[in-house]
């Protein structure tokens, strides 16, 4: 629906524009839709040239911590279901070409 990309704020200018970095790609986006203060170092979500929200680092870190524990727990558990087993048997071939159907 709407691609929005986590990016890091590098600079904010007097025109309410921010220079942001996305893993080595720099662009200038508008902050016109953000109520809170935005500072260099903040993470924001960017959509079609605008910051649409700040990213809440606390929640992000929380999630990351949860995932870490989950992955560790799973690794220790006996491998009751191997990841390969999780995959449907017909692999990626969800669609069989019509020709073969007939």
């Amino acid at each position: 629906m709407c691609l929005a990309i986590p990016s890091k704020v590098l600079k904010v200018d007097e025109n309410n524009m921010a220079e942001v970095d996305t893993l080595g790609v720099k662009r200038t986006v508008s902050l016109d839709l953000i109520q809170e203060e935005v500072k260099p170092g903040d993470y924001v979500l960017i959509h079609v040239g605008y910051a649409m929200s700040k990213i809440d680092e606390k929640f992000a870190l929380e999630s990351i911590e949860v995932y870490k524990q989950l992955a560790e727990a799973a690794a220790m558990e006996e491998d009751a279901i191997s990841p390969e087993k999780l995959v449907n048997e017909d692999g990626p071939l969800l669609y069989k070409p019509k020709a073969e159907d007939e």
Binding site: L3, V25, K26, V48
Partner: protein
Amino acid sequence: MADKITLAYGGGGEETNKLINELFYKHFNNDILTSAEDAAVVNANGKIAFTTDSFTVSPLFFNGGNIGKLAIAGTCNDLAMMGAKPEYISCGFMIEEGLDFETLEKIVKTMSEELSKVGAKIVCGDTKVVPAGSVDKIFINTSGIGHIKKENISAHNLKKGDVILVSRDIGKHGSVIMAHRYNVETTAQSDCKLLWDEVNALIEAGIDIKALRDATRGGLSAVLNEWANASDVGIEIEEDKVPVSDEVTGLCEIFGFEPMDLANEGAFIVAVSQNDAKKAEELLKKFNSNASIIGTVTDGNRVVLKSPWGSSRYIELPKGELLPRIC
């Protein structure tokens, strides 16, 4: 020379000769070219490779290169991909009136530098100047010929069990061009580079090369699909083995592109027999540490990308124009 190229320089008369003598012969100086005949005369013995490419890149100058570098590397690389040493190059310039002479000279100088790296020569050329609006600044066509050093390298050669390698991380050139087109900055540099040295090293080492291809327009996706199709085989790629830089990932996130669909100008894919795979990887790593084995040839007839968690999906031939997704 005037500061701008006008239509007069394409008339075939005095000004054209001036341009040829004072620019092209100056930088591409060699006896075959300056003999100024209707065609170059060269000696050939045995199998030669012959290829052509036109270069229409915008912008003309980009991080890591310019249209002139591309024009030499592109055509020399197509020869290299057939196991041929690039030797004789032709060069057709199509110039928009009004192009700065300085810009043209920069491009020509770059071409000359690239040529000397691989020991190839421009032996024949052609220059057209067209009215403003009839071309976007400059297009360059280069064709090339070279003797084949190792025969039977072909997209049709792949057999089950062969191993697929990529010579470096992918998507750099495409990223740079797309960043420019959509007005963002990237720290990425085009990978634009001559590849004969790498290919020659593989040949000299006696690697059993099945197929070679530079992953230009259409990227890795296009090469793999073309190979699967030409050799009627399947190909399985391990997604986490495909080297992609952060910068390229970043750009792909922003625009919704796939790194494997992006153009490269100095990255090639090579298929070798299983026994030589490790050796080939080591050799290629000497040129670029990101070189990597990325997959194998299988039964079937599709290109499959396998995720580290066991799922898989098809890689298709890219479709249509690359356009940024908003969603």
